[in-house]
């Protein structure tokens, strides 16, 4: 049933009895034209675009648990395209443009809310770096604004201007950046893909890959063997484990990133703000909770939970940015498994195994990339060559030296 005010009203009068499951739970078939491994945002978006734009309908998404139970259901919902490097800006801008039309395209309100992403800076050096980045954006046709301290203060009076250890000097604003309701993205793409005939197979874990003569033949799963000549891997923090099934090692360490939400309060913060004297970022969701976090704990982890020092550091940064937060309460914390690459940028590439494709290495920034990553993985799987805007996301860049290091952090995960 189409989602619209009409269906909402008519169902309201019928006691909501006419709604149906938002996607089917079919039995796996013996064979598909393509399999996408991973029922998160990227995997479901890929399946949707494979069906809607590349004409592949006989495809399956296999997900070891439930749709959207991984990082897409755990992130801090920020979308933006305010990157520095020419290899990144067009990709994220493509993603942002897809976000802008998403709700109408998949008929699901993902609450795409472009109320601005503001990156604060606190020193001349940081300001110069922000100017470099803002100019890079502008040269790519992506709007950015440089705000003075007074302009920041006019928009966000509650930040610490008078008592800060590292006073705010100004900020770089991308007004078109903002937030999106993450759960709706997973469910929306799942429903839309399902409508186009994609089989979403939940509780179906990839246990092995059948490879012969250097080409992939199919997937061994907890629900049986499924043949497919094209398999796309989109499993975020589990990328190394899945790549190992194909005998591959990746330039990836899986780390835990913890994020937090406060109790719901009336509107206080109307855009996303990032703190320059730390890694802290914060925004307010439509439900009223303040969603915030900082950086990874700093060690390999698959546990989906972090430790107390990181919680304390994050809250210290919170107070440094906005001392009003002290009276508000942290309500929930959660952790994800982040596939951190050695240069902080992702991989969307073929693998040495023919028919096997990899989308991973999204570090802590995969959510904003969801539509474009799905589109580019779909393009790669359908055409066997990289999408134009994902050309730089090669696996071999670590060997060639064509790295995409936005921050200059090198292999230091905490700096990405």
């Amino acid at each position: 049933m189409k989602f619209s005010i009409r269906s909402v009203l008519s169902q309201a009068m019928q006691g909501q009895t006419g709604w149906k499951p938002q996607w089917r739970n079919p039995e796996p078939r013996a064979e598909y034209d393509a399999i996408v491994v991973g029922g998160g945002g990227h995997g479901l978006a890929c399946a949707y675009y494979l069906a809607s734009r590349y004409g592949l309908h006989n495809i399956a998404v296999i997900e070891k648990s439930l749709v959207g139970s991984g990082n897409v259901g755990r992130n801090t919902t920020i979308v933006r395209s305010n990157y520095l490097l020419p290899g990144n800006i067009p990709f994220y801008e493509t993603s942002l443009k897809l976000w802008e039309g998403l709700e109408q395209e998949i008929n699901y309100n993902a609450m795409v809310s472009q109320r601005g992403v503001l990156n604060l800076f606190h020193s001349d050096g940081q300001r110069d770096v922000a100017i470099r980045r803002g100019n890079a954006m502008r040269l790519h046709g992506v709007h950015a604004e440089l705000l003075s301290r007074d302009e920041v203060r006019a928009r966000h009076p509650f930040l610490d201007y008078d008592n800060a250890r590292f006073p705010i000097m100004g900020g770089l604003l991308q007004q078109r950046g903002g937030t999106v309701r993450h759960d709706a993205v997973a469910w929306g793409y799942a429903r839309a893909a399902d409508k186009l005939g994609v089989d979403i197979l939940q509780n179906c874990e990839l246990t092995g890959l059948r490879i012969e003569g250097g080409r992939v033949l199919g997937a061994e799963t907890s629900r049986g063997y499924i043949a497919a000549r094209k398999i796309g891997l989109s499993v975020a923090g589990n990328s190394s484990r899945v790549a190992a099934m194909a005998g591959m090692r990746l330039p990836v360490e899986s780390h835990v990133l913890t994020a937090f939400v406060s109790e719901g309060i009336k509107p206080l913060l109307h855009s996303v703000i990032t703190f320059g004297a730390g890694h802290f970022y914060i925004s307010q969701s439509d439900k009223g909770g303040l969603v915030f976090g900082a950086s990874v704990d700093g060690y390999n982890s698959y546990a989906q939970r972090g430790n107390l020092p990181c919680v304390e550091d994050t809250c210290e940064e919170a107070m440094a940015l906005m001392p009003a937060l002290g009276r508000l309460r942290m309500l929930r914390s959660w952790g994800g498994i982040m596939d951190m690459t050695m240069d902080g940028s992702p991989i969307i590439d073929r693998t040495p195994v023919e028919g096997l494709y990899l989308n991973g290495g999204w570090c802590i920034g995969g959510f904003k990339a969801t539509p474009a990553a799905g589109l580019c993985l779909a393009h790669l799987m359908a055409r066997d060559e990289p999408h134009e805007v994902a050309r730089a996301y090669r696996l071999d860049r670590f060997a060639t030296g064509r790295l995409l290091d936005e921050t200059g952090g090198g292999t230091n995960m905490a700096l990405h």
Binding site: R249, P251, Y299, N300, Y302, A303, P309, A399
Partner: protein, 81 residues
């Protein structure tokens, strides 16, 4: 999370810096560049026991070789590097 430093005793992880995979061997200077790419970039990244280096930055500045399960964070062993 806490580590028992052989020199300083049981301390919070906040005192340490992480240096990653301890199973790597630095290639000889005449090795193929692919060996170097492997050494600097490629990782096993296991879900399970992981041998890794931790540097006791806030105290004795010694590097420790730690075996830790990345699924549960259980410390299995701590030795000097």
């Amino acid at each position: 999370m806490r580590l028992t430093c052989p020199f300083c005793g049981n301390r919070s992880i906040a005192e340490f810096s992480y240096y990653g995979d301890a199973t790597l061997t630095r290639p000889g200077s005449n090795a193929e560049q692919s060996a170097w790419v492997d050494y600097v970039y490629m990782r096993d990244n296991p879900a399970g026991p992981h041998s890794e280096f931790w540097y006791h930055e806030a105290a004795c500045r010694q590097v420790l070789r730690v075996e830790r399960d990345t699924r549960t964070h259980t410390i299995l062993s701590v030795q000097t590097a």
